[in-house]
Symmetry: C2
Subunit: 725 residues, 2 copies
Amino acid sequence: MSKTKGRVTLPSETGFLEETKEMMERWGADAIRDSDGTKLSEDLKSLDAKIYTTYFVSRGHNDFSRNHMEETQSLYLMSRHTLAVDTTLRISFMDGYFRQQVMPDYDHDPKIYWEVMDRTLGTVVPVENWEVWTESDEVVLKDIAPYHEYTVSFLVKAIWDPTQMYNHITNNWGDKEHDIPFDVRKKHSNEYIHSYMSQWMKENPRTDVVRFTTFFYHFTLVFNDLGKEKFVDWFGYSASVSVDALEAFAKEKGYRLRPEHIVDKGYYNTAFRVPTKEYLDFIDFQSAYVAKQAKKLVDEVHRHGKEAMMFLGDNWIGTEPYGKYFPEIGLDAVVGSVGGGATLRMISEIPGVKYTEGRFLPYFFPDTFREGNDPTIEAKENWRMARRAIMRKPVDRIGYGGYLSLAYQFPSFVDYIEKVTDEFREIYDNIKGKKPYTGLKVAVLNSWGTLRSWQTHMVAHALWYKQIYSYLGILEALSGDSVEVSFLSFEDVKTNGVPQDVDVLLNAGDAGTAFSGGEEWLDEKLVTTIRRWVYEGGGFIGVGEPSAVHHGGRYFQLADILGVDKELGFSLSTDKYFHTAKEKHFITEGIESPLDFGEGMKNIYALGKDTEILSYHDGQVELSAHDFGKGRGIYIAGLPFNFENARLLHRCMYYAAHKEEELHKLFAENIYVEVHGYPEIGRYALVNNTDSEQKTAVYDEKGRKTMTVLAPQEIRWMEMEKNEE
Amino acid sequence: MSKTKGRVTLPSETGFLEETKEMMERWGADAIRDSDGTKLSEDLKSLDAKIYTTYFVSRGHNDFSRNHMEETQSLYLMSRHTLAVDTTLRISFMDGYFRQQVMPDYDHDPKIYWEVMDRTLGTVVPVENWEVWTESDEVVLKDIAPYHEYTVSFLVKAIWDPTQMYNHITNNWGDKEHDIPFDVRKKHSNEYIHSYMSQWMKENPRTDVVRFTTFFYHFTLVFNDLGKEKFVDWFGYSASVSVDALEAFAKEKGYRLRPEHIVDKGYYNTAFRVPTKEYLDFIDFQSAYVAKQAKKLVDEVHRHGKEAMMFLGDNWIGTEPYGKYFPEIGLDAVVGSVGGGATLRMISEIPGVKYTEGRFLPYFFPDTFREGNDPTIEAKENWRMARRAIMRKPVDRIGYGGYLSLAYQFPSFVDYIEKVTDEFREIYDNIKGKKPYTGLKVAVLNSWGTLRSWQTHMVAHALWYKQIYSYLGILEALSGDSVEVSFLSFEDVKTNGVPQDVDVLLNAGDAGTAFSGGEEWLDEKLVTTIRRWVYEGGGFIGVGEPSAVHHGGRYFQLADILGVDKELGFSLSTDKYFHTAKEKHFITEGIESPLDFGEGMKNIYALGKDTEILSYHDGQVELSAHDFGKGRGIYIAGLPFNFENARLLHRCMYYAAHKEEELHKLFAENIYVEVHGYPEIGRYALVNNTDSEQKTAVYDEKGRKTMTVLAPQEIRWMEMEKNEE
């Protein structure tokens, strides 16, 4: 393979000039960036590379902030549920919160902006029945009902930026000053943000790319009274709330938001909640405003002949890249952290930018780059997962973060990344802009639709939770699958029906969540539209508790399609006769059992003998298929990511879509090998997703079968229309 | 032990006189009964024993029934959910039903008594929109919404008694005539039932005890089109429905029942459904009527100087023995099948009768009494479980069923039962009428309260279901525990509060069921009454999903008492810090881990650091305790029966009630040994619940400790106020 160059961003650091040159050469890097904790000296900035410089918009300017404490950012928080044992009650609403992060906002009248809720009745306590004691930070209630639980929803000022707070505490930065976040909606802050940007431009002439980290509002990250994380929601808009925002919202949308619309019983509208109209309105309202303000900054960057790049994280609230206002910002690029295939595609498919960049793992940090540890292992795993997704839709650049001086001490790691960067450029050069072959189109159906493309079932960014891994595996599997993937909201289906080109709908999640849909399924329009569509030939795959809401003698509202339902105890009296799994079936062919359904799902049973049970264990159906008119429904109890499950889902989709005959085109029998075709260039690639040699039968675009052996991690490019061996 | 006699009922059969005499002598039997499939010849009836004769009230008289087919019993059934793909639909409502058991009732106008439901909307389809086609047993719908699901609720005539049907099909009785059940509410049937009783009395002068099997209406047992069980509910009132009943109900209660009140979306109001007002009214209405009619029969029995005994099962609907009308029937006795301790106490505590009798296992049937099998094993297990309950509240008699000639062939079985009968009489003579020592009082709290005492979580009588065994263990444990047990409904608590003498409330079940309570927990009166009561010192034990209904930011409405809640996905963003189980705690002292929580419960987490976690596994709390005011809440994920769990529950109750100091009175440290005290007679019994020798420390009524060894299954009587060894 001849040496190639470009599309790679290298972190560097002051005093590391010669090694940086060497690494640029080896990895073919054409850009250099600073990092958290590193700066680029002038000699580095003079290298033949684009220079990325990190830029913080709304923090790191305490000289300004300290003089404008009335313009800090703010949040709505909810106190603990507090029990009344009498007709009076004192609620120490700040209990459990971190006073170094937030302080009560007494600048604005609590009687207007706060709310006390009777959580037992679900009603608002009249303002006459409570007072705020500002000396002790208590709300004192009178004439209330004993043994009810009460909460206070209150405004706080944010006095410490959450990301800096996290780094500060984690790295023991001691008395290093706390960054105070200021609010772009406020007069002086707005002026400062825009004027400082101009000034900075002038002071940083060598910068080619301004890397915004990010804009105005941090995702919700609240610490507890011990200075540890209390609440984290990567999608949370709570920290974008302010009196100014509330008043502007009322003017724009024609109604006032209540504190409850933001605190949402203490759930703070996490992505798992079926979103309310009010919350969707708030997202829309903030996104429009953020886009407008961000555009001003980006325009300024462009005026100075530089590029504007957004980091997808930290203060990214209001810039959801699949939202309708995002393209208006006019960004040149987005960079985001790649945890695997799903996050890669979350980045690579972002519309409205000139290019995307993935920041790969591991970070060059001492936790990984330490004596006795082999950072190559994590790098291989990260690349192997991301590569599947790159084959479908590549990012335009890859990059790394951290201390280059650390990575430099691990020669085998440097060797490996040299191969990765070459391989990335090879793939990119082959397929960029080429539509890959897809056997069918699947649409992931939930409350969020396209707005949260590739972002389902996420809590904090790319962290493992017991309650989500059995669903996250679906997107991870899809990210590298040779099918077209789209996202659809219930509202989309109700308004426009299922798009013509969709072959399979997929609904996955725990009951009541936005991903399963909860009470959305009580809408007859939704249910009948999907029933008709499947009946006329569509495929429907449900994972976990799809379409679940107890109504009309069903728990799964599409039980008739799926051929299974969940026993809640109410139908125990009805005999369940169907427990026998079919030994042979198209869906499970070539996949070793036992299958891994992750957390699985209890008490799923087949409705009748026309439900094909494909896996049955411990008294419950784990995998099944069911004909429904000309269409099919498939049930899966859970789908954590592994290659067996990726193949299982692939076969499920072909079966659901009645496309069994199409499966053996650009297909490898060995589940560890995937085939990606690019008809426009007349080529296809065989990809060995493992670290060991794989032998497999391969089917070309005409379905002609050959046997082949792939080296560990090999990617092999094949020509179409020839019978290669 | 000297030979004793009495309190034992022996099944016998024609042609077995001498052996019967021998067995009567050995087992000390003072009563002889016929059985399903056996008759007593005159010589047997002349023995010195009470003679029991089985009597069927509403079936077995086909000469009558065939002439009054308009008076068969009837049921409301619901068709399958049927999908409309058009604006018209034909529903073959009899699909899936057994035409030998039921036939559509066309005698009464379907437009009045049937109902067609749109299950997608949950609305009634106007009668103008459907017709019944009687030739094809179809309902034809027009002008309906495509892709909605529809059901038909329809009346059928019952033309085969379910118990006879079951025996007939199971035992291949071929062309033996089908018993047609007739309805006591109808004119001729009512006359026939009462006049035949008088006649039978005269024809059976040797009978001492008329064993009613049972009265008028069978529990719901419906077969499918393959002649196999389709639906079984031991508590089901569906087969007591008729046009006459519906009309009488309307007159008595002042409103009409709809078919939906009976078919209940296809759940048919099983005991797991939180009962509706209408269904409770119907139970009340039928029970009052059945009691009145049964009383007439019982009076007739008494007029002939005989006793009336009711079998608790088969046609027992309307005679719920803990219902308010039951005592009015005036029965002398109830006999029921003993599956274990809980069913024993369900029988032994029945109020309003002179005596109770338990029919013990195994039945003398060829499935158990066959060459190579040792029936003593089942007998020992049955006795061991029942004996625990007998020590708390004995039945007055024990008995067996089946073919004595079979049992006679197993000498070691005969020997064992000889010991059992002697032991039963010894226990009975010691404790009958004596209040046993109880350390505290627990009340089981659910929708049913006392009406279903000792009958929670039952589907078909004493059968195992995956969804219930983790709860049934609670009653089984309580049945032999040295605590007082009572049953309380949510309505009781709302109306009268928690009774003064209750120490611990226990709420156990899956979310939404009548045993957990479902939406009953939205009632602030219920919630606040219990909160106040616990706060002031009460104990609350929740098992499974206690008080679960999603509201106000809680899933367990009493999460504040329990200190735990269940993660539904909405609060994943809130960090959960409390995962560490305490090594040592009063509750788990002396109990080996790992504990067995049966099906367990997913995603239970501790709310804060003041929740004492006692078992934590796979990311979830399985056992915890939490102080709440002066009271305590305890959470258990599930409690299948075993002796570890029986002891665990015992200790939980003492801890919840703050009675730790009282535990070591009349107590054995070895979990396989239980101690039952009877202060009135100044004695206590040590009971070895196992088949092996047990060494244990024992504490007497003053808490004085001694060591002792008990032989397998031994029961040892001790005197109080002495320091025995």
